[in-house]
């Protein structure tokens, strides 16, 4: 079973990575993550917003209300400088973890 810490780390990395390409509102963010991970990572409303608000409090992302073409007001999230700074070590950590697990899996198969 994947622990809460690992799950949270994966989710935060996913959000920061997707927002690196540009600002998105919550629904679109969840859709983009699902598409880019081919359905491996899915965010429900209940999982997404507490995490977005927490990341906002930490100063990694910033939300602001914007009016779209259809006149609908949406809260768009964008990456802050602190978020960009956070992304790089987070990626490194996950890459190291992934490599370590792959090595472990290969050893187990051998």
């Amino acid at each position: 079973m994947i622990g809460a810490g690992i799950k949270r780390g994966t989710a935060e990395l996913a959000v920061l990575s997707v927002l690196q390409d540009g600002p998105l509102h919550g629904y679109e963010l969840a859709r983009r993550i699902e598409q880019q991970t081919k359905g491996a990572l899915r965010f429900t409303l209940a999982a997404l917003y507490p995490m977005l608000y927490r990341m906002e409090q930490r100063g990694w992302i910033r939300g602001s209300w914007e009016t779209g073409g259809n006149g609908r007001r949406r809260r768009c999230y964008r990456l802050t400088t602190a978020g960009r700074t956070k992304l790089s070590p987070l990626r490194k950590e996950w890459s190291e973890l992934y490599s370590a697990l792959q090595r472990l899996a290969k050893v187990s198969h051998a």
Partner: protein
């Protein structure tokens, strides 16, 4: 078309944030639900199916409310703990102790439950203030309501409900045995049956009375949330 803001507003009725901030959260979540619903409709679902699919994203609205509150609050988690546990706990403790004092001073004589030796009562004797016991469910309900309103977890709510009996429990479980050990006279005359009767009268019965009111409130709140989820209101 469904009024998603009203749906979210109803489900997150316990969300304790500043009004403007609360309204922003409700609008944002409502838009997410509306867009999920629209997407499902595009895939050919009926309005009802799409709404059900959208709402299925949240299994426990009370938990979501608590998580949002923790995430959005500018104050630290210590402040949340104060609102969710310490404030309701101290209120239930203060009210129950205050009421007991008033009843002892001005109320009817307590019920004395004991064995009789002729006309006189012999130990173990339980002194029970019935008006106090009957008022405890209301106090427990108030504690549960306050903790729930501040987004407290079930554990915080239950702990704050039974908080008033903690001093008595400490007395019976720690202070009394300690006194019996160090006080030779009490040690020789110590009656376990008296300890048991005292525990029943001052810990078990008040805790049960407090929990009756508190659990009823908890049950009512859960039912309201569940009903809201089923009807989608």
């Amino acid at each position: 078309m469904r009024d998603w803001e009203a749906v979210v507003e109803q489900h997150l009725s316990g969300l304790a944030l500043e009004p403007a901030e609360r309204s922003e959260v409700i609008t944002e979540l409502a838009q997410h639900l509306a867009e999920t619903c629209e997407q499902c409709r595009k895939q050919g679902m009926t309005e009802e199916e799409a709404a059900r699919r959208a709402l299925s994203q949240v299994e426990d609205w009370h938990k979501l409310s608590r998580l949002i509150q923790i995430a959005r609050k500018k104050e630290n988690s210590m402040t949340n703990r104060v609102k969710q546990f310490w404030l309701p706990s101290l209120l239930t403790l203060f009210l129950s102790m205050g009421l007991l004092m008033l009843i002892q001073l001005f109320g009817p004589s307590p019920l004395k439950v004991a064995m009789k030796n002729g006309w006189s009562l012999i130990a173990p004797t339980a002194v029970i203030y019935l008006p106090w016991l009957f008022s405890l469910p209301v106090i427990g309900a108030m504690g549960a309501y306050l903790s729930n309103r501040a987004g407290g977890s079930k554990r915080a709510m239950l702990s704050s409900i039974i908080f008033p009996v903690v001093p008595y429990a400490v007395f019976f479980f720690l202070a009394l045995p300690a006194i019996a050990i160090f006080n030779e006279r009490l040690g020789h005359n110590f009656m376990f049956i008296a300890l048991f009767v005292g525990l029943l009268a001052w810990v078990v019965a008040p805790a049960a009375a407090l929990l009756t009111g508190g659990v009823l409130v908890q049950h009512f709140v859960s039912r309201r949330l569940e009903l809201g989820r089923i009807t989608g209101n």
